[in-house]
């Protein structure tokens, strides 16, 4: 009885199991436990949350292996970690540490301004950010087993995530309306492989799970993203940069499950204390916009 690891089905299937859930950024074992207790489906282990990366500047890299192992030991839920765009050695290191998912992330400083990691060669699955359908399909073509909208990480401003979700889903709806002989030009315009374009046009959805990320700070933000067709939500700085992380984390989990029930969202939103302060994306000078990293 042969056992095949790292197959497409095993990688994409792992993301299917996270659907309807919230994945939370954590920087140490204590935060990871708070996230698990609040009902997170997974944690993202990183050294600094995006809001701090933004505030402190400098080059942001893969986290210290010791810190990742402490988080792995602290919780029973899946542990994800970030590698820089194109930094395949960081990804190899993370795989050897046994993380459950790698986020090839624009939140870290890119290591390669032309190429992303060739993700097919890895046993561990990858999630990648996208601002539009073409970008999502290019990442899937490179082996990504899960896509997330980029949003603008570390801002607490949900407008970019909203824009990316509308963009991706709008383009999918448009593809579904095209004649078969128009898909060749659509593929050219999307700068994505024809086979993937045809698959999306036929199924009316991406071939992998689509989460949303970047700027989600409240239960209502999480529910908004779910109603825009997200399969689940990443919350980065929104939880541990707020007044009461444990309560806010649990509230976001509840709102993600009952995204279509305003009463539940209202209850979840009560008495959460201060939300993260936030930055308006429009006030960010272009070189500091993380969503524009990735090609």
């Amino acid at each position: 009885m042969s056992q095949e690891t790292g197959t497409g089905r095993v990688k994409r299937g792992m993301a299917e199991m996270l659907k309807g859930g919230v994945i939370m950024d954590v920087v140490n074992a204590e935060q990871a436990k708070i996230a698990e207790d609040a009902g997170a489906v997974a944690v993202m282990a990183l050294e600094r949350v995006p809001a701090d990366i933004r505030a402190q500047g400098g080059v942001a890299r893969m986290s210290d292996p010791d810190m990742i192992e402490k988080i792995k030991a602290a919780v029973s839920i899946p542990v994800m970690a970030k590698a820089r765009i194109g930094h395949f050695v960081e990804a190899q290191v993370l795989q050897s540490l046994g993380v459950d998912y790698i986020d090839e992330s624009e939140v870290l400083t890119p290591a390669d301004y032309k190429n992303h990691i060739d993700k097919w060669g890895f046993t561990v699955p990858f999630v990648c950010g996208a601002t539009n359908l073409g970008e999502a399909l290019r990442r899937i073509n490179e082996g990504a087993a899960m896509i997330r909208s980029k949003g603008e990480a570390g801002t607490g401003d949900v407008s970019n995530a909203m824009q990316h979700m509308r963009e991706i889903n709008g383009e999918i709806r448009r593809l579904s309306s095209l004649r078969e002989d128009e898909l060749y030009v659509a593929a050219k315009e999307l700068q994505a492989p024809y086979e993937l374009v045809r698959e999306v046009a036929e199924k009316g959805k991406l071939p992998v799970v689509l989460f949303t990320a970047g700027g989600i700070a409240t239960p209502a933000d999480a529910a908004l993203m779910m109603s825009m067709g997200a399969d689940g939500v990443f919350i980065g700085s929104g939880i541990f940069k707020s007044g009461n992380p444990a309560q806010r984390a649990a509230a976001c989990v509840r709102a993600t499950t009952f995204w279509d029930d305003p009463k539940v969202i209202a209850d979840a939103s009560r008495g959460l204390g201060e939300a993260m302060v936030g930055i308006n994306v429009a006030d960010l000078p272009a070189p500091h916009r993380l969503a524009e990293r990735g090609w």
Partner: protein, 198 residues
Amino acid sequence: MKVGVLALQGDVREHMSALIACGVEPLAVRRPDEVSHVDAMVIPGGESTTIAQLARIFGVFDVMRERISKGMPVYGSCAGMILLADEILDAKAGQETFGGLDITVRRNAFGRQVDSFESDISFRDGSTDLIRAVFIRAPWVERVGVGIEVLAEVDSHPVAVRSASVLATSFHPELTGDHRIHRYFIEEVARVAIQQVK
């Protein structure tokens, strides 16, 4: 037969499609009164700690536990198996289960995601055809109580078990497009159990 899929978190959609392919009309179930209105339930794959917690918060937990103990037919895959086990190992501190199956299940027993695998296994439903089974951070059964039948094994660990009304698999038949396990649950577990109650 009204079959509900517990829709708090996890791969609900895939189970719904598999049930539709077996000719039943599934209902997504998130509230206590919805649990009361179905004849049978499926607990999807997902994160068992998250599902248990949401079930508690939204009042579904006790209704599920009670209905399962009174013989409502249930099928659980992966996280669903964990939630149906009377006893779990490597659990989060204080992690609860609905219970109903007299088994002990070890969470993530096959390892982390890098160890997740697929394999052809035999399933003892009378057919000799192998079934493609997808194991994702999968649990296995470490102890089987009286009256529990083992339907499939991997490396001599039980990965599919049943009682009179409860079926559980550590793998995810909902991901493969082969609906044999769902059909087995509907025809050989749920229909028979419901018939006996009547």
